[in-house]
Amino acid sequence: MIAEYSKLSAMDIIKGLRDKSFSAVEICESALSLAESKGRELNAFITLTHDKAFAQAREIDRKIHHNEDIGPLGGVPIALKDNICYTDCPTTCASHILDKFIPPYDSTCATRLISAGGIIIGKTNMDEFAMGSSNENSYYGPVINPIGNNLVPGGSSGGSASAVAAGIVPIAFGSETGGSVRQPAAFCGIYGLKPSYGGISRYGLAAFASSMDQIGSFARNIKDLSLAYRIVCGRDENDSTSVAFAHPDYPDLLESERKFQIGIPREFFLEGLDKEAGKQIDNAIKLFQKDGHTIKEISLPNSPLAIAIYYIIAVAEASSNLARYDGVKYGLRIKDDDLINMYDKTRNLGFGSEVKRRIILGTYVLSAGYYDAYYFKAQQVRELLKRDFETVFKDVDMVLTPTSPTAAFKIGERIDDPLAMYLSDIYTAPANLAGIPAVSIPCGAVSDGRPVGLQLMAKAFDELSLFQIASRFAKLGE
């Protein structure tokens, strides 16, 4: 085990490998041994990919030995959420219905990480099919927040957040539909990015709600977070929703003297926001003001409807996307002589209760007689919410809010109350509905030590401003 491994950033690892302070195989051993000890305690991983990881690490060491280029992520251990395909390694989406599914191809995200020299050490636990806000909906059991006290890590990308916060990997990838990267980043006290819709190819990401799904990343500092995004972003011919955008080299552009116009939407600071968490956000606003940024009170009048809109559109799309799990092409099959009975039994046993609840609600809101009142109406209100953001971005560069109304809650606390669980995404869902980028950055803690996350949202494809303001905030806090 390399000394202080769990404190090393991706940048530290890259430098250490180039200086020959340690080898890629030693780094890989450290990551996997922590994943087996600490990772098991936290239940952060579903599968560890030893063989492929060590083969890649040996190849990096060979390249270093021959003075060859090891790539911008050369030798850095990475974890992928278990809904992102990685060839020949099980990809379960934390669902029983994907039992024994082994993808015969790589997601574009995995392909780009590997070609940049990254070392994928495992697949992380998650809420089943990314449906959940606490990582308690996994067929493989709940993930624990490394902060302790039996707290949830948030969800749905709880395993990836937990693995990064515990120092098992410096960078991990998750996915977002309504806050599934930012909310766990906030609960675990780390950085999380939900990129612009179209920012990262979704080829090889299991679909949940296609008009919102995005791959996102976690890290313990802003430079690693921006590096992770830089490696995987950009147009991919295998995903027609990925956008051709000339992404700048984010990690090199973090230091900036820019003074930003920051909007504070009053709707995000009303009832529901925990007082202590709110105080941390207020302190941050004061710090930004002192640093010369302009703070403006703004309004996003339709944002309080975000969860209502989200839970119509997301479940409608999910009911359609999850129709593919039928016991025929891959995964679980419960045998029956009758085809329809086989479907019914396989899907009933294969899906967990939250997934079934959403498939049924989604089928309901799309059914004849209800479509106009729910799905069509929700899409209209979504358009109004999108216009709220367009209006606001004429005036300000970014919008600042808390990431979640409260800090991490206890395992079991909300599992029997789906609506209370859904409401922990009330501040994150608007960015998914509007397709804009957002980050969650660490912003102090409440009095018992649970971390608070601060969210910043910007115009589509202005991730650069988010990285720059986050980098500035980290400096202000020092």
Partner: protein, 94 residues
């Protein structure tokens, strides 16, 4: 009119889900609560608003019609619960 248990059974059958009595009870209770929450969008005035479904300026993407290698049959079938070596096998339909 609140959603009934019969509605749920009908929808579940359309979605190919066979719910147990206990599951039906719980899902019914949850859905009544969730639907009454999402109802709040009804009060928004959306006259003349076009529904939005996507946020990128999607354009047709054209490419040359060149045949490239695709997933070999053996790999495509490798995850199937049942095959005859060439096709997916399902219980008798007719």
């Amino acid at each position: 009119m609140p959603i009934t248990k019969d509605d749920i059974l009908k929808i579940a059958s359309l979605a190919r889900l066979e719910l147990s009595a206990g599951e039906l009870e719980k899902i019914h209770k949850d859905l009544v609560q969730i639907i009454s929450y999402i109802e709040q969008i009804q009060k928004v005035n959306t006259d003349g608003i076009m529904p939005s479904s996507q946020f990128i300026k999607a354009e047709n993407v054209f490419r040359e019609d060149i045949v490239k290698p695709s997933l070999p049959r053996e790999k495509a079938l490798s995850n199937a619960p049942d095959t005859d070596g060439e096709y997916f096998k399902v219980p008798k339909v007719l």
